[in-house]
C-alpha cells in the first residue's frame, strides 16, 4: 500500500513539493505572518476611553498620536541611539576577539575559545541582567567596590547602564559571525599585503574590513534588532529610562491598539535597515 502511495507521489513532482512545503508554509503564513498582520491591523483600531474595550473602526488616531507626541518621538530616537551604540560597541569588541580566535590562536584552543564565547548564552537573560544590576549599583555595587580606589565610579542605572548590559548580552551573537568571516579569510592575502609594504592598519582598512564586512553586517542584524525591541534591561538597569519596548509593555493590557502601533515602528525600522543592507550589497557575498 505504501508502495502505491510512493509511486503516485513519484509521478507527480509538483504535488510532492507541495506536500513537503505545506507544514512550514502553514507555520510561516498562518502562525507567523498571520499573527503579525492581525497585530498591524489592530494598530488602526482605538479603545473606549473608560472600559478599555477595543472599538473596531479603522482610523489613524494612534499613528497621529505617535508622530505628534514629543515623548514618543524621544523614545523612538533614544531606542535607535541605544541600538546603534550597542551595535558599534559590539563590533569594536568582537573584531579583535574574532581575529584572535580565527588567526592567532592554535587549532586546539580555537574550539575551547568558541565554547567559552558561547557559554554565557546558556545562562538565563534575567540572571545576567540582575548580575549587572548588582555590578552597577551606585556606591554599593561591584564596580564601585572594585574600581573605586582607582577613581572610577559606576555609571549607575540609566543610558550607560542599558548600553553596557545590552552589549554584554549580544556580544556572542556578534563574535560568532565575524569569527566565521575571519576563518574564510585566506592568510595568504594578509601575507601578500605585508609583502607589498602595507602597514597593519592599512591592511586592516583595505583588505580585511571589506572582506569581513558581510559578517559584521550579519552580526549587526542580531544586535540591532534585539536592542530595538528590548524592554527588560531598561526595567532592571535603566533607572527611570524607557525604551520602545517598555511603551509596548505598558500599553498592551490597557490599550492594545496603541501597543500595536508602537510595535509597528521597530518593524518599519528593521525593514529600512535591511533594505539599506541589501542595497549595499553586503548580503550577496555572505
Amino acid at each position: 500500500m505504501l508502495k502505491s502511495i510512493a509511486t503516485w507521489f513519484h509521478q507527480r513532482p509538483r504535488i510532492r513539493l507541495a506536500a513537503l512545503l505545506v507544514a512550514p508554509l502553514l507555520w510561516l503564513v498562518v502562525a507567523y505572518l498571520g499573527a503579525l498582520t492581525s497585530l498591524l491591523i489592530t494598530s488602526f483600531y482605538t479603545i473606549n476611553t473608560f472600559t478599555g474595550d477595543v472599538i473596531r473602526t479603522f482610523n489613524l488616531n494612534n499613528f497621529v498620536e505617535l508622530l505628534t507626541n514629543p515623548s514618543y518621538r524621544n523614545v523612538v530616537l533614544r531606542t535607535l541611539g541605544i541600538a546603534l551604540s550597542v551595535t558599534f560597541i559590539c563590533t569594536v569588541l568582537a573584531l579583535p576577539m574574532a581575529f584572535f580566535m580565527a588567526k592567532v590562536a592554535q587549532r586546539r584552543s580555537q574550539k575551547i575559545l568558541v565554547a567559552l564565547v558561547l557559554t554565557p548564552l546558556w545562562a538565563s537573560y534575567l540572571v545576567k541582567i540582575y548580575s549587572w544590576r548588582t555590578m552597577l549599583e551606585p556606591e554599593s555595587g561591584v564596580i564601585d567596590w572594585l574600581l573605586g580606589p582607582l577613581g572610577i565610579r559606576s555609571p549607575g542605572f540609566g543610558f550607560a547602564g542599558i548600553i553596557i548590559g545590552l552589549s554584554y548580552l549580544w556580544l556572542p551573537y556578534m563574535i560568532l559571525p565575524i569569527y566565521a568571516g575571519f576563518e574564510r579569510l585566506p592568510n595568504s592575502l594578509l601575507d601578500a599585503s605585508g609583502d607589498l609594504g602595507a602597514r597593519n592598519f592599512y591592511t586592516f582598512r583595505k583588505i580585511v574590513l571589506p572582506l569581513v564586512f558581510p559578517s559584521i553586517v550579519a552580526g549587526s542584524m542580531f544586535t540591532f534588532s534585539l536592542s530595538l525591541g528590548d524592554y527588560i534591561t531598561a526595567q532592571i538597569i535603566g533607572g527611570k529610562l524607557q525604551m520602545l519596548g517598555n511603551v509596548v509593555y505598558q500599553n498592551y493590557s490597557l490599550n492594545l491598539p496603541f501597543a500595536a502601533t508602537m510595535s509597528a515602528v521597530p518593524i518599519a525600522i528593521m525593514g529600512i535597515y535591511l533594505w539599506i543592507i541589501r542595497r549595499s550589497g553586503a548580503l550577496t557575498s555572505l
Binding site: 498571520g34 478599555g52 523614545v75 527611570k240 490597557l254
Partner: protein, 400 residues
Amino acid sequence: MEVQMRNKRLFKALSVASVAALALSGCGSSDSASDSGLPKVEMLKELGAGEGQVNIVAWAGYVENGSTDPKVDWVTGFEKETGCKVNVKVGASSDDMVALMKTGEYDVVSASGDASLRLIYGGDVAPVNTDLVPNYADIFANLKMQPWNSVDGVAYGVPHGRGANLLAYRTDIVKPAPTSWGSVFDANSPYAGKITAYDSPIYIADAALYLMKTKPELGITYPYALDQTQFDAAMELLKQQKPLISEYWGDYLKHVAGLKAGTTVLGTTWQVNINLAKGEGTKVEGIKPAEGSTGWSDTWMISSQAKNPNCAYLWMNHIASPEANAAVAEWFGEAPSNAKSCDLTADKNHCATFHANDDAYWTDVYYWNTATEKCLDGRTDVKCVPYSEWATAWSSLRNS
C-alpha cells in the same frame, strides 16, 4: 521562464490575499460601539453545588497555599472543605487584572479601586448577591457600598482589606524624619536622585492630593475628580519631580531591594514593603504624612462569565471569614476587612498597627478609584479627565 515568473507572482498574490483574509476574518464584525451606561449583568440567585475548581486573579500574597511559606496557608483548608481546587494567577498591576478578566477565563478577581469601576462598566463583573455571602455581615461598615465597589446601591464585590500608601524613608540616611509629601516633591531636596514613586498612572492622584492640601486655590476636593486645569497642575508637579526620581517602582521586591541598597531613600511605599525591608535588616520606617495619603481597598469581584460561580461565591465567603481575613491581612500587611479578624491575628497589635478599628485614621486616606468623565466629586459644570487620559499622560511623562 515566463511561466515561472507568472507562477511566482501568482503565488505571492495568493499568499498575501490568504494572510489578509485570515487576519480580517479573525477581526470579525465590529462590536456595538461603547455606551457609557451600566451593562445589565445578572447576579446569582442561589448557591448550588461546587464545580470542583475556581480560577482566581489576585495580587501577590492574597492567595497563599503554603508554597511560599508552609505556615502561610489559607487555601488548602478551603480546598478540603469545599472540594473547589484553587487555581491562582497573580496579576502584576490593575491594568493587567482588567485585561485578564476581559478574557473571560477567570471566575474571581481581587480588584483595586482603579480597576473595579472599569470592570463594572465594561460588563466584566456581575453584582454580588450578598445574601449568599454570610461573612459579609461582619465586614466594617465603612468599607461596604463605597464608590469603587458599588453602583446605584448595588454591591459589586466583597471588600478585602485596606492599606494606605505610606512615605518610606531610611531612618539612618534621611534626617530629620520627613513629615510631609513635600519632601518627595521638593526641587531642592538633598536626596535628589534617590527618591522613588509608584509606577502607575494612579500616582497622579498622589500629586493631586498634595496640591489639594497645599494649593487650595486650585479647588481640588477629591484627588480622583480632576478637571483639565487641575489635571495639568498635577502633571506639572510630576514633571518637576521627575529629575529627583531614581526609579519608579512597580515590582515591590525591587523596591525593597532599592531601599536596602540605598539607591532609594525616600518615597511611596506599602506597609508590606517596610516589613520586608525591616526583616532584612534595613533601617526604614513608613509614615502617613500630614496631608494624608492615597490608599487602596481591594474588592473580591465575580466575573460575569464565571464558569464556576458556586465555587467563586464559596471562595469569597471564605476569604472574608474572620480566620482567613486575619491570616491574609497579617501576611500581606494590611488592615483586615472583617471586624472579627482583629481578635484572631497572631500579633495582637496587628489591628492597632494597621489602624483597622481606627475610623479617624482613614478619614484622610483617599482610596484608589477610577477617574471618569463624570466628575466623581459631584461637579456637573465641568468634565473631569477620564482614566484613559491619565494613562496616556503618565506614559508621556515616563517616556519624555
